[in-house]
C-alpha cells in the first residue's frame, strides 16, 4: 500500500504541494518530474550516491547517546550527528544526490539559493567535486550574518549573488533564484529544502531519507528496537526534519516533533513560526502554509537563525501539521541560544543556531523515564560563532 505521506501524481500531500510555476519553467520541472524517481531508484545512482556518502561525506553519521543531556532531562537522548558530515550539516546528503541527478540529465550549470549558507556551501562543494558551474543566491542580510559560509562558497569557486529585494533573506534568495532559473532555463535548480514546485519537495525528502534509514539500524544496534519513541528536528523549509522523519512517517507509535523558530516570540510580530502564524497559500511554486496578510501578501519573517528565517514550510510538513501526524513546537532566539550554550558545555558539541532550536524544546517536554528520543543534530555551529560570542554575556 502506498503511504499517505507520498505525493500523488500532481505532487500533492493532501491539499498541499503542486507546481505553481510560470509557463517558462514547465519544461524543466516536467523533465525532472518524469525522471527523478527512475534515476534515484536506479542501481547506478544508488551505487554512486552511497559510495560518495560513505567515502566523501563520511556517512554513516554516528548516533550518539548524550549521557549528560539524558540525565538532565530524564530521558534516553540520542543525537543523530549530521553536524559531522563533510561541510558541516545534513545539506550535503541532498546536494550529492541532486548533483548526480543533474549530471544524469546532462546539466552543466547549477543554481541554488541559501539561507544560512549551509546549502550554498554544500552545493558549491559538489559543483567543485564534479567540475560544474555554480551560482548561489543569498539574501544580503544573510551574507552579513553568515560571512564564513560566504567565504567558503567563494573559495569553492561559486558565484555568490546578493538578493537585495524584500527582506533580503532566504525567501528573497529563493525568489531571485527562481527568476534566474526562468531566464536561464538550461540551468539545474539544486533546491536546498523540501520546498518549491513538485517534484522538488519529494526529491529532496528522498535524498535526506538516508538520515532515518541509518537511524533504524543504529537504534536497533543500541536499543534492540528500530523505533525511538520521539524524534525532534528543527524546521525552516524542513529538509532535515523530512529526512529524520521519513522512514517513520507511517509508524504512529513514533512521535514526531517539528520545532519552528519563534524569533522574539510567536506573537511578537518578529517570528518565523509558520504553522502558528500561517495560512494556506502559495509560495515558491508550492501550495503550503505560509505567513501572509489578509490580502495574500507574504509577510517578512524573523529569526536569529538564517536557516529558519523563512515564511513558509515544505508541503509535506504542512500536511504533517494539518493531519496532526507531527507535533509542531517552537523556540525563541533566546531559548535557542541557551540550548546551544548548554549542549556545548555539557556535551562538548557546538550546534548550529538552527539545530539549537530543536534542542531548546527539551525543557518544555515532560519525558517518561526510559523514553528514547532522537534529536537530529542537523548542523554544527562554526558558522554562528560570531553570534554566539555576541550573546555570551546575555
Amino acid at each position: 500500500m502506498k503511504s499517505k505521506f507520498q505525493p500523488d501524481e500532481n505532487g500533492y500531500f493532501g491539499q498541499f504541494g503542486g507546481a505553481f510555476i510560470p509557463e517558462l519553467l514547465h519544461p524543466n520541472v516536467k523533465e525532472l518530474a518524469d525522471n527523478y524517481i527512475q534515476i534515484i531508484e536506479s542501481e547506478e545512482f544508488q551505487t554512486e550516491y552511497k559510495s560518495l556518502l560513505k567515502d566523501y561525506v563520511g556517512r554513516p553519521t554516528p548516533l550518539y547517546l548524550a549521557k549528560r543531556l539524558s540525565e538532565k532531562y530524564g530521558a534516553t537522548i540520542y543525537l543523530k550527528r549530521e553536524d559531522l558530515n563533510h561541510t558541516g550539516a545534513h545539506k550535503v546528503n541532498n546536494t550529492i544526490g541532486q548533483i548526480l541527478i543533474a549530471k544524469k540529465l546532462g546539466k552543466t550549470k547549477i543554481l541554488a539559493e541559501t539561507g544560512a549558507g549551509q546549502h550554498g556551501v554544500a552545493t558549491a562543494t559538489v559543483c567543485a567535486l564534479m567540475g560544474l558551474d555554480c551560482t548561489v543566491f543569498m539574501g544580503e542580510k544573510d551574507i552579513v550574518r553568515q560571512a564564513p559560509n560566504v567565504a567558503r562558497m567563494k573559495m569553492l569557486g561559486a558565484k555568490v549573488v546578493a538578493a537585495t529585494s524584500g527582506s533580503k533573506t532566504l525567501k528573497d534568495a529563493t525568489n531571485e533564484a527562481i527568476r534566474y532559473w526562468i531566464q536561464h532555463p538550461e540551468t539545474f535548480y539544486l533546491i536546498g529544502s523540501v520546498v518549491g514546485p513538485a517534484p522538488h519537495p519529494d526529491m529532496v525528502a528522498r535524498l535526506q531519507a538516508i538520515i532515518s534509514e541509518e537511524m533504524k539500524w543504529q537504534l536497533k544496534e543500541k536499543t534492540g528496537k528500530e523505533n525511538p519513541d520521539t524524534i525532534i528536528a528543527c524546521v525552516g523549509g524542513g529538509s532535515n526534519a523530512a529526512g529524520a522523519f521519513y522512514h517513520y512517517l507511517d509508524d504512529d507509535n513514533v512521535e514526531l516533533i517539528a520545532v519552528e523558530a519563534a524569533g522574539l516570540g510567536v506573537n511578537s510580530g518578529e517570528s518565523a513560526a509558520t504553522s502558528q502564524l500561517g495560512e494556506v497559500g502559495i509560495i515558491h511554486g508550492s501550495k503550503t502554509i505560509l505567513m501572509q496578510d489578509e490580502y495574500g501578501q507574504i509577510v517578512e519573517p524573523y529569526s536569529i537563525s538564517a536557516g529558519l528565517d523563512y515564511p513558509g514550510v515544505g508541503p509535506l510538513h504542512a500536511f504533517l501539521y494539518e493531519s496532526k501526524r507531527a507535533k509542531f513546537m517552537n523556540a525563541t532566539d533566546k531559548e535557542a541560544l541557551a540550548a546551544a550554550y548548554e549542549l556545548t558545555k555539557i556535551e562538548g558539541i557546538i550546534p548550529a543556531l538552527e539545530t539549537a532550536h530543536a534542542l531548546a524544546v527539551l525543557p518544555k517536554i515532560k519525558f517518561k523515564k526510559d523514553q528514547v528520543v532522537v534529536i537530529n543534530l542537523s548542523g554544527r555551529g562554526d558558522k554562528d560563532l560570531e553570534t554566539f560570542i555576541q550573546h555570551l554575556e546575555d
Binding site: N10, G18, A19, F20, I21, P22, E23, L24, H26, P27, S165, G166, K171, N175, I178, R179, I182, Q183, H184, P185, E279, V280, G281, I282, I283, H284, G285, Q292, E294, Y295, G296, Q297, I298
Partner: protein, 255 residues
C-alpha cells in the same frame, strides 16, 4: 462574448496594450492612469495587482509593486477604484495578478468582484495548465471569466495547441526566456520563434509581451502578432515623469 474578442472584431492589427501597477506612483493614481491611457487610444489595459513576491516580474515591476504596497494599496481599494472608473471607462481591462492573491481573498469572492468591476479577462502567470484543468476552468466558467495563458520559446507545440483550445481572449506570447523588463532590440532568434508560432495558424489571437519597450520593438512584434503589451518601459516612464504626460509615451509608439 469576451471583451477582448469584441475588440478584435473591430481591430486585429497593431494593437497596443499597456500594463500598469495599481496604486503607483501614488495610491490614487489607478483610475487616473486608466483614463489617461484611454484618452491616448490604447487598445486595452493590463491592470497589475501589486504583489509582494512577483516571481515572473523583473526589477522595474517589482519596485513599482513594492512602492504601491507601501502606499497602502490592497485588493479592496483596487476593486473600489475599478468600480469608480467603470462608470466612464470604455477600454477593456485585463487583470494581472498572482494566484495567492485570489486564493487568500477567496476564489469565489475574487471572481465576483472582478465581474462587478466589468472585467472578464485574467492573467495569472503562476497558474499552471494542470491546475486550470483540474479546478479553475470550472470556477472561471461559472463567472464568465477568461484566463490568458502564456507561451514561451520553450513551450512544446502540443502544449501550444492545447492552450489554443482553452484560449478565449488571446495567447500571451512571452517574447524570450525571461522575466518582465526591457531588453532592447528583438533578436533573430526571437523573430524565428515568432514566425514559428505564426505559422502554426492558431485560432487564437496573439499578443507579444515581455521586452517590448518602444516604437521599434512594437513595430517588429506587430509583424508577427495581433499586438503587443508594454509594461516595464511604461512603469519606468511613470516613475520618472509621473502621470501627467502619459500621452507623450504612447503617441510616439502608435503614430
Amino acid at each position: 462574448m469576451n471583451s477582448i474578442q469584441q475588440l478584435f472584431q473591430k481591430k486585429d492589427k497593431n494593437l497596443l496594450s499597456i500594463y500598469f501597477t495599481c496604486g503607483y506612483p501614488k495610491l490614487e493614481d489607478t483610475s487616473k492612469v486608466i483614463s489617461a491611457l484611454e484618452k491616448s487610444n490604447v487598445d486595452f489595459i493590463e491592470v497589475g495587482l501589486p504583489y509582494s513576491d512577483p516571481l515572473a516580474d523583473g526589477p522595474t515591476i517589482q519596485d513599482s509593486s513594492q512602492k504601491a504596497l507601501e502606499n497602502g494599496i490592497n485588493l479592496d481599494i483596487i476593486f473600489d477604484q475599478l468600480m469608480t472608473i467603470k462608470q466612464t471607462n470604455k477600454t477593456p481591462l485585463v487583470l494581472m495578478g498572482y494566484l495567492n492573491q485570489m486564493l487568500k481573498y477567496g476564489e469565489e469572492k475574487f471572481c465576483q468582484k472582478v465581474v462587478e468591476c466589468g472585467i472578464d479577462t485574467l492573467i495569472l502567470p503562476d497558474l499552471p495548465m494542470v491546475e486550470f484543468e483540474n479546478h479553475y476552468k470550472k470556477l472561471f466558467d461559472k463567472y464568465g471569466l477568461t484566463n490568458v495563458f502564456l507561451i514561451t520559446p520553450h513551450t512544446s507545440e502540443e502544449r501550444i495547441r492545447k492552450i489554443d483550445s482553452y484560449s478565449k481572449a488571446f495567447i500571451y506570447v512571452v517574447a524570450s526566456a525571461s522575466i518582465t523588463g526591457a531588453k532592447g532590440d528583438i533578436s533573430n532568434n526571437q523573430v524565428a520563434y515568432f514566425e514559428r508560432i505564426k505559422a502554426m495558424n492558431l485560432k487564437s489571437k496573439l499578443i507579444i509581451g515581455f521586452g517590448i519597450s518602444d516604437k521599434q520593438t512594437f513595430n517588429t512584434a506587430c509583424k508577427y502578432a495581433n499586438g503587443t503589451i508594454i509594461g516595464s518601459a511604461f512603469i519606468k516612464y511613470l516613475g520618472k515623469n509621473g502621470i501627467d504626460k502619459i500621452d507623450d509615451f504612447i503617441k510616439p509608439i502608435i503614430s
